[in-house]
């Protein structure tokens, strides 16, 4: 690792820390490293519901800079039932916390992505797009992902999910907020009814030619279908 790489330390849920984290921070500071402080508040966890979790998320984010000398904060509000960051409630916590901090400080904020569905499925790509849209229109500086299939299956993640994350950010940057919220409500409604039957998708070596490192035609067709769905919701960027 070089000083210009983001050196990570994590807070614990909720508003907790251990001595190891402090020791890492001391090392990072004395090495002149970029410091990324992570924490994923749990919707439905210790804090409680939507409003309480958002308040804790704001406090936690600020603490990354006060306690941990963070260069930037990596958020990731997560739904206690589904273990994902793309659920409606998790997006609302992230969107409200970021907007509150964005409006009152210059702090630089990131968010990380855990989808329920896996690679080579439209649901995974739509979940990713929903979070990228939320993050962009709530003022975050950086997005980080995607840990598809909840980030627990070995090799179930590919570069194409990151392409969707990036394109969705580009699609809504500078868009009027009321329009963004309308698109988001309709977009999340498309996949939230399918949580119990979410497709696990395919591993990397079934999504990509592993010699040339390019996506399969099958996955590109799925990607194009997701783009068409997003265009149908009013995101002109995807009409290409």
């Amino acid at each position: 690792m070089r000083p210009c790489d983001s050196h990570e330390t994590s807070q614990l849920n909720e508003l907790k820390i251990d001595i190891n984290a402090l020791t890492c921070i001391a090392h990072y500071i004395n090495s002149g490293n970029v410091i990324m402080v992570e924490q994923m508040p749990i919707y439905g966890g210790y804090a409680g519901g939507l409003e309480e979790t958002t308040i804790v998320d704001v406090a936690t984010t600020i603490n990354s800079f006060v306690m941990a000398h963070g260069s930037w904060h990596l958020d990731g509000p997560i739904h206690i039932r589904w273990g994902i960051t793309t659920a409606r409630e998790a997006l609302a916590v992230a969107g409200h916390a970021a907007r509150a901090i964005d409006s009152n400080t210059h702090l630089m904020l990131g968010n990380q992505y855990y989808t329920l569905a896996g690679p080579c499925t439209e649901m995974c790509l739509l979940e990713t797009a929903a979070q990228a849209i939320t993050d962009t229109a709530s003022g975050r500086e950086i997005v980080s992902g995607v840990a598809s299939a909840k980030g627990v299956r070995t090799n179930f993640h590919t570069g194409l999910e990151a392409r969707m994350m990036a394109e969705a950010c580009h699609a809504v940057a500078g868009m009027e907020l009321s329009k963004v919220n309308d698109v988001l409500d309709r977009l999340v409604a498309l996949y939230e009814k399918d949580y119990k039957t979410a497709p696990k998708g395919k591993p990397f070596d079934e999504c990509y030619d592993t010699t040339a490192i390019v996506p399969t035609d099958e996955y590109l067709e799925v990607y194009d279908k997701a783009c068409a769905t997003l265009a149908g919701l009013g995101l002109d960027y995807f009409k290409k």
Binding site: K16, E52, F65, M67, G95, H96, I142, A147, A173, V188
Partner: protein
């Protein structure tokens, strides 16, 4: 009253050894939920989950005030010492003020310069692509990371982790953990070089 100087990690460690004693159970089940609920009531915060991003300035500012109050009233719990680390409001505000306005991630022509953006900024966020801590096999680790590094809109990498290292579990706080982390760094560098972006930040 003005603060003597900005709080640092050493002050924080000292306070972790001298703060008020409390059980972790009390922190989790009483302090956090009761304080958050009281602040929700104090600021009359009501969210509609059909609206993912707030547009009401009063709600936006009240959420920020409640977050500052939460940090000031609760502090941070240190799980190793079983003590509560407290801040003053002035220390919190000074910490915010001292946070950087500019961060360079990566080097040479692959470096990005991250600066603050606002919710309506036509400039999109930076893209950190990668499996975000998800497990990868040793055999496919480099190819998976190359698939992110070669994406034109990806600016830097967030890596996955080795599920095994030389066939062994990289158990936390074991020698295998160190071996796995070192191998991950080498693997990511190899992936970014193969993508023609050797200076990409991690």
């Amino acid at each position: 009253m003005a603060i003597k100087r900005k709080i640092n990690v050493y002050d924080f460690y000292d306070r972790a050894k001298t703060g008020k004693k409390m059980t972790e159970l009390e922190w989790d089940s009483v302090v956090i939920p009761e304080t958050a609920a009281a602040l929700k009531q104090k600021y009359n915060i009501v969210m509609d989950k059909k609206v993912m991003i707030p547009e009401d300035p009063e709600l936006i500012n009240n959420l920020f005030k409640a977050g500052i109050d939460m940090l000031e009233q609760c502090g941070i719990y240190c799980t190793d010492t079983g003590r509560v680390i407290k801040y003053t409001r002035e220390e919190i505000l000074a910490g915010i003020e001292a946070a950087p306005y500019r961060v360079v991630i990566g080097e040479d022509t692959d470096a990005i310069v991250m600066t603050p953006r606002s919710f309506d900024d036509p400039k999109p966020p930076y893209i950190q692509g990668g499996p975000t801590g998800a497990p990868c096999s040793e055999e496919q680790f480099v190819a998976i990371h190359q698939s992110y590094a070669q994406e034109g809109l990806v600016d830097c990498i967030v890596n996955g982790v080795y599920q095994k290292i030389n066939g062994k579990d990289p158990t936390p706080n074991s020698p295998y953990e160190i071996a796995a982390v070192r191998a991950e760094c080498i693997g990511i560098r190899s992936a970014t070089m193969r993508a023609g972006r050797p200076g990409m930040g991690l």
